[in-house]
C-alpha cells in the first residue's frame, strides 16, 4: 500500500460538489503537484488532507493509518500557507520553534533543531528578526522551515510561490525542490501555475471542476494529454479536428498524418493536438501546410507566431536562435514530424454538448 492514499475523497457544500471521488496514491518521498484553475478542487483536497475540512465521503490513509477523522492538530502534517501565516508577534526563531514547543521538545534540542532548519533555508542570521522585517522570499522560507522542523510525514504546500515576483519564484521553485530532496519529505503542492507544477513535481495531478483529469509525470502529461482541457491548460496547444481514413488521419483535404495509438472507426472525427513548438516553418518543397503569418510576439527565448491556414488559426513557437524573425503578413509553409500529432480520446458526452 502506498504511503498516503486518498480513497474516493469527496466534498460537497450543499449542491456544490467541490471535490468528486478523488483517488490518489502517493509514494514515500514523492513530490506531487496538484494543478488546476481556481475552483477545481485542489485547495479543497489540501484542506481535507490538513484536517481543516471534513470530507463528505472517502478516506485518507497515511502510512496504513486512517486519519480521516483526526483533528488538524493531531495529524502532525507540515503546512505552508499561501499567505505564509507566520505569527507576527514572534521572531523567526520563535515561529520555527512553535511546533517543537507544542511537542514539548526539550529547550536545548529545540534550539539546535531550529538553528539547523534555519541554516537549511539560509536564514541563520535572521533568527532574531520579526516577520514584518523580512522580504516576501524570506517569509516564505520561514514558513517552510516552520513546517519542516517538526519532521512531518507529509508537507503540504498551498500555492507557496504565488506571492513572490517572477524572478524569485523561479529561484524558490528549485530551492523548494532542493530542500525536499535533501529531507526526503513526501510533499503535495497545490498550484494554478503549470510551469511551477511541471518543473518540480515527480507527478502532476490535473484537476478540473472537482474531478481528477489525469495523473502523470510532467513530461508524459505534456506530451500525452488525455483530454482537451489538459492539452490547453498544460502548455499551449492547437486543437485540430481530423477524420479517420484507414490508417491515416485527414486534417484537411490532401493533408494526412499517420493514425497513432488506438484504432478508430473509419470516417469518425477525432481531435488532434499539435503543440506550437512542434511546428516549424519550412521551405516550399518540404512544407505540409501553406500558412499566412498574421501576428508575431517576442517572448525572449522564443518567437510566437499566430498564423492562419486551412486548419484555422494556429500558434507556432520558434526558438529565438538569433536570426531575424519572419515578417508579419508573409506567406510561409509549416511542417512537423509525423509522431507529434496527439490524438485526444473522445470526451464522454462532450461532442454532443459542444
Amino acid at each position: 500500500m502506498s504511503f498516503l492514499v486518498l480513497d474516493g475523497l469527496s466534498k460537497s457544500y450543499g449542491d456544490v460538489h467541490a471535490l468528486v471521488d478523488m483517488h490518489l496514491a502517493v509514494e514515500r518521498g514523492e513530490f506531487i503537484g496538484l494543478l488546476g484553475p481556481s475552483g477545481c478542487g485542489k485547495t479543497t483536497t489540501l484542506q481535507a488532507l490538513a484536517g481543516f475540512v471534513q470530507p463528505t465521503r472517502g478516506r485518507i490513509v497515511l502510512d496504513g493509518r486512517d486519519i480521516t477523522a483526526l483533528p488538524a492538530n493531531r495529524r502532525g502534517l507540515g503546512i505552508v500557507f499561501q499567505s505564509y501565516a507566520l505569527f507576527p508577534h514572534m521572531t523567526v526563531a520563535q515561529n520555527v520553534a512553535f511546533g517543537l514547543e507544542m511537542r514539548q521538545v526539550p529547550t536545548a534540542e529545540r534550539a539546535a533543531r531550529v538553528a539547523r532548519m534555519l541554516e537549511l533555508v539560509h536564514l541563520g542570521e535572521l533568527a532574531a528578526r520579526y516577520p514584518r522585517e523580512l522580504s516576501g522570499g524570506q517569509r516564505q522560507r520561514v514558513a517552510v522551515a516552520r513546517a519542516l522542523v517538526i519532521e512531518p510525514p507529509v508537507l503540504l504546500l498551498d500555492e507557496p510561490l504565488s506571492n513572490l515576483d517572477a524572478k524569485l519564484r523561479e529561484a524558490m521553485q528549485f530551492e523548494l525542490r532542493r530542500i525536499q530532496r535533501k529531507l526526503g519529505t513526501t510533499t503535495i503542492m497545490v498550484t494554478h501555475d503549470q510551469a511551477e507544477a511541471l518543473s518540480i513535481s515527480d507527478r502532476v495531478v490535473v484537476m478540473h471542476a472537482g474531478r481528477v483529469q489525469q495523473i502523470d509525470a510532467p513530461h508524459r502529461l505534456y506530451e500525452h494529454p488525455q483530454s482537451r482541457f489538459i492539452s490547453s491548460f498544460v502548455g499551449k496547444t492547437n486543437l485540430v479536428s481530423a477524420t479517420v481514413r484507414g490508417t491515416w488521419m485527414e486534417l484537411a483535404p490532401g493533408l494526412r498524418v499517420p493514425l497513432a495509438g488506438a484504432a478508430a472507426a473509419e470516417g469518425s472525427t477525432l481531435t488532434v493536438c499539435l503543440r506550437p513548438e512542434k511546428l516549424a516553418f519550412a521551405d516550399a518543397a518540404e512544407g505540409r501546410l501553406p500558412v499566412r503569418i498574421e501576428e508575431r510576439f517576442f517572448l525572449g527565448s522564443q518567437w510566437l507566431y499566430r498564423v492562419s491556414s486551412a486548419l484555422g488559426d494556429l500558434e507556432v513557437a520558434c526558438a529565438n536562435d538569433g536570426r531575424p524573425p519572419r515578417p508579419e503578413q508573409a506567406q510561409a509553409q509549416l511542417t512537423w514530424s509525423d509522431d507529434v500529432a496527439r490524438v485526444l480520446p473522445p470526451e464522454p458526452g462532450s461532442d454532443a454538448a459542444s
Binding site: 490538513a50 481543516f52 501565516a85 507566520l86 507544542m102 511537542r103
Partner: protein, 284 residues
Amino acid sequence: MTSGRALPYALSAPALALFGLMVLLPLALTAALSFQRFSHDTGVQGGFTLAAYIAVLGDSYYWEIFGRTGWVALLTTLLCVLIGAPEAYILSRMRAPWRSVFLLVILAPLLVSVVVRAFGWSLVLGPAGFVNQFFEWVGIGRVRMLYTPIAVVVALVHVMLPFMVIPVWTSLQKLDPQVENAALSLGASRFTVLRRVVLPQVTPGLLSGGLIVFALSASALAIPGLLGGRRVKMVATLIYDEYLHELNWPLGAAIALALLVVNLVVMLATNAILEGNYRKRMGA
C-alpha cells in the same frame, strides 16, 4: 492666495477653533475657577488660593471617594475585558446575517437613554426585582444590590461593553485566519491557539478598549447618580454636588481637575507600559 505651507493650517483652522472653544476654553476657565477664593456666605470671591486643593488633598473623605471611583472603574474595565474579548471573538466568527444582528444587540445599550437604562436596572436589581425574586426562590434570600457599588458596576459594564467589543473586534478583523490554522497544524490545542496566537495580536484592541472604558467609567455621572444614590458617592457625583448643592464652585473645579489629572496619569502610564512592550514586538 495662501502659500502652500500655510494651507494645511488654514484648512484645519475651523476644527482647531471649535476644539479651542469647546474643550480648551472651558478647561482653562475651570482651572482658573479652582484657584479662586470661596466662602459660604459670599460665594466665589476671586483672587488666588490653593485652599480648594488643600481641602481635597487633606481630607480622607475625598481620598475615599477617589479610591472608590478607582476600583469601580477598574472592576468595570476588568469585567469588560473578560466579557467583551470573548464576545468579540465569537462575533468575528459568526456568519453574515447573525453577525450584524448581534452587533446591534451589543450596541443596543448605547441607543437607549441613560435614564431609561438606569431605571431598568433599578427594577431588575431592586428589593422586589427579578434578581431578588430568583434569590428568594433558590433560598439565598434577599440581597441589597441597589444603591451599592455592585449595581453601579453592573450597569456600567452593560453600557461600556460596546467600547470594549468594537476595538477588539477591529483588531480581530486584521488577523489572518490562516494563522490560527497554522498554529493548529503545528499541534497547538484550540486553547493554546487563543492564548499564544490570537490574544497577543488583539492586545492593542484590548488596550484601547480598556483605556476608553476606564476613562468613561471613572467620570460617569448618571449611572452612579441613579443607581448608587447618596450612599455610593463617586467623583463625578461629588463634583455635581459641590457645584449644584454646596455651590462651592472652586472646590468642584479642583476635584474635576484632580479627576482629569488622575485619569490622564493612569492612561498614559498604562499606555507607556503596555504599548511600549507591545511595540517592541510588533513594531506597530
